[in-house]
Subunit: 350 residues, 2 copies
DNA sequence: TTTAATCGTACCGGTGTTCAC
DNA sequence: GGTGAACACCGGTACGATTAA
């Protein structure tokens, strides 16, 4: 591999001059003739600057780490897809890694990145935030907020209220909530909203828990639950992913969706849109969320001392056939209900 | 951030000794007492070695680049998930990036990685392979093979033959193939197999093309095709992803799957397993494939001159309800048909 | 002279400041 | 003042030199 020194030698100039020309630094003038000589030498040798050396010298790697709980879920891969596009447009590379509760903090802190995007790290966030902030910009995405960290989250309250309200309108009187254990806590907006709305209507929460966010577990649990709670006539699921497993279980039990039991999910994955029956769900503006997160991380890279910014984007409940008991227009395009919940707050404790 | 020099100073030793101790080099002996002093100094300072500096000095980054055509598709995110697990177990980080035909080769060649995994890069492969091989180990995954590159691919021929054969057995006489244009070429095993089997049975290929691998396009195309070819009674799709869009279109057109038209896909995604009706598909051993790819890349990192190795893993056709016209056991677990196609060849032209 | 233990220092490949013509 | 060379960094690694027993 040709190095800068090689190019400089070939062009008969010093490394300094070659560097100035090839990295496009203005400021110090270089004669057009020298520029041409250096450019040509570089082109002939197929010179590519070594990112590592540049990073070591400047302290900027032009890489961003993305930390997620899992990778092989459409919701997260959609996020990665968005961020990758944004990153590339700005000349950044992405280091992608999963974080589980037992993950090695030291390893994460040593990632060669200028900053990092923490995605949905409810359970493991605290120490990671501290560790990562010592090394660069940190932005929280679609998870817990934290007073010292920029973040973009969803405001689910009214969307969940819409969902439950809609199910009640459709005649549901016993609405379960299928999820994994850590999410049955007040800081999880979905659970919070579900519980609140049920309380307001004098209904009892019915949490159905499974050990991991896996479809077959959702299916098995729902089959069990249908025997355990024969009066259950509605099911709200923490994610579309779980809802799809649940729908499978409901059909396998010989029940019908939505006639016997209505099902709603959350995330508005493409899969829910295309399944049979199409799944009612809470739609999250993933694209805008990622764009804001990217904007925030770039801002903090430029101005490390900028005030902390928290953004909350509105979520929307989308009605499809899986919760529509009354109007059976099989071939109609998906009905869609009003958007709700807007909240745009700034500020925090740096 | 504490540097090695800081630690060395604190422990009263030279950088050399500190480096030897902290990077766990054996070979040269260090007194237990010195080791303890250095370790303690490092612990107290919360020392984390700078990967960039180490990489610059050793020439090894302990990072692997993963190049894929897109990210937000379950098939690819499953691959990323597998590789991430393998990489982490070996202490590697992953640089993940999309490659489209117009991608900047220079940028890819400059990725700070010891090697790279090329995933499904049929159209853009040639120049990238050459560029990447100059910089490190390269392994092809689930795509075209190349004489100078280790690769792991699937042997689809017999699985496709099984799929088409099965559809014919179920009474299908006009079987379409839904896909995107670049895959209608002999080097794509699915198309190759489809065409071959149809030819053997005296049937005409019926390619249905869409511009991009998107579900809504699949849905729209199939709605159109059902009018255009009213006798079409079977549909083989390049991926499950397309098959799911097609199924949506078929149902939206008022037809039934599998009674009016059978549908099969490829990839065996979880989504196809859980949708209604469950989708017959070609199952690809993604886990083993990724493990082989990882083994190959690590091998080549150790022995750059090792002979090129090409692996071909068997694919299996899995029968589910979307192609089962005759046996209507709605609640039975998925039927499964025999595995076929084994081929394990080594060697090549380095 | 050998051997254990440690040090000094030239790298790796860039960046950016200082200084000379 | 316009050009460009010299050189000290960034934070590690690794090899030869050095010391003491």
């Amino acid at each position: 591999m040709a190095t800068l020194a090689d190019i400089a030698a070939k062009a008969g100039v010093s490394k300094a001059t070659a560097s100035r020309v090839l990295s496009g630094k203005t400021g110090v003038p270089v004669s057009p003739e020298t520029v041409a000589r250096i450019r040509q030498a570089a082109a002939e040798a197929g010179y590519t600057p070594n990112r590592l050396a540049a990073a070591l010298a400047t302290g900027r790697t032009n890489m961003i780490a993305v930390l997620l709980p899992v990778l092989d879920r459409p919701y997260y891969s959609a996020i990665i897809g968005h961020i990758e596009r944004l990153a590339r447009a700005d000349g950044y590379e992405l280091l992608i890694t999963c974080v589980r509760p037992g993950s090695d903090l030291r390893r994460l802190a040593a990632l060669p990145a200028d900053g990092c995007i923490l995605c949905e790290l409810y359970g493991v966030g605290e120490p990671i935030i501290a560790a990562m902030q010592k090394r660069g910009a940190v932005v929280g995405l679609s998870g817990q907020t934290h007073s010292t960290m920029d973040s973009v989250v969803f405001d689910m309250d009214s969307a969940v209220a819409d969902a439950i309200g809609h199910m009640v309108e459709q005649g549901c009187r016993r609405i379960g909530y299928l999820t994994v254990p850590p999410t049955i806590r007040p800081e999880y907006p979905r659970w919070h909203g579900y519980q609140k709305v049920l309380g307001e209507r004098g209904m009892e929460p019915l949490p159905l828990l499974i050990d991991a966010e896996r479809r077959n577990l959702a299916r098995d649990r729902i089959i069990e639950a249908l025997e355990q709670y024969p009066d259950m006539d509605g099911l709200f699921c923490h994610t579309d992913h779980l809802a799809l497993g649940a729908m499978r279980g409901i059909v396998d039990s010989g029940r019908r969706v939505p006639e016997d039991i209505t099902v709603a999910g959350c995330d508005n994955t493409e899969e829910g849109e295309f399944c049979e029956p199409p799944l009612s769900t809470i739609s999250l503006p993933l694209g805008p969320m990622c764009e804001h997160a990217w904007r925030l991380i770039r801002r903090r890279l430029c101005e490390p001392e900028a005030p902390v910014e928290h953004l909350s984007l509105p979520a929307t409940f989308v009605v499809r056939r899986s919760t529509l008991r009354h109007s059976h227009q099989t071939h109609a395009p998906s009905a869609q209900r009003a958007l709700t919940g807007t909240n745009h707050s700034k500020g925090g404790t740096p």
